[in-house]
Symmetry: C2
Subunit: 127 residues, 2 copies
Amino acid sequence: MAHAEAAGIMTGDPMIGSDRVEGTTVYDPSGNDIGKIKRLMIEKMSGRVTYAVMSFGGFLGMGEEEHTIPWNKLNYDTTLGGYRTDITEEQLKGAPSFYREDDYRWSDRDRERELHDYWRAPYYWGM
Amino acid sequence: MAHAEAAGIMTGDPMIGSDRVEGTTVYDPSGNDIGKIKRLMIEKMSGRVTYAVMSFGGFLGMGEEEHTIPWNKLNYDTTLGGYRTDITEEQLKGAPSFYREDDYRWSDRDRERELHDYWRAPYYWGM
């Protein structure tokens, strides 16, 4: 829904390989490189991509950090050849530390709700 | 729907990382190793996993072959630590050659319908 295609940026191919998404650069609204996608999180039952685990580097002027970002915060931009997000430096700085765990385990919906609320993203469930 | 969880095989973690799925072994109903997952295909707009591109090896007694399989043909089996499928050797041998292309481009729904019908898989769209 929030994806590139919905914004009118449509490539010919509606599909993308998981190994092509991993390592893809993510840009801020001004087109600055702010990080990379490390992996996608997939809901086993439904087969939906729910989150992207991203590494953020120089953007914060500190060591590399990982964050789990709702997938619908990323929009593919064909001109950049990467994803664009409206996540801000302030949001990253203020994010609770448990969002930064590499192997975050999703055990309850409340925590997912909290995470989506924090990033101001629509819930992926019940959509 | 057709996934392991629906069949009562449920791990504690409802999510799996894309890099963990790639390289995972796929077993036939008797528990024989028949191939591996190379990559997942993801529908950009919806963020749904739609297909797994798999490599099949010794199963066919011929060179390694790639096939694009509807995602819902794979069920995660925690005891095997891999996916189980009911795809048969006969189905693989009879599959049209264009299903074996590495970089198959999904341009029209008719071809996808044909592929799902061939593998006797429910369509992922409109579900």
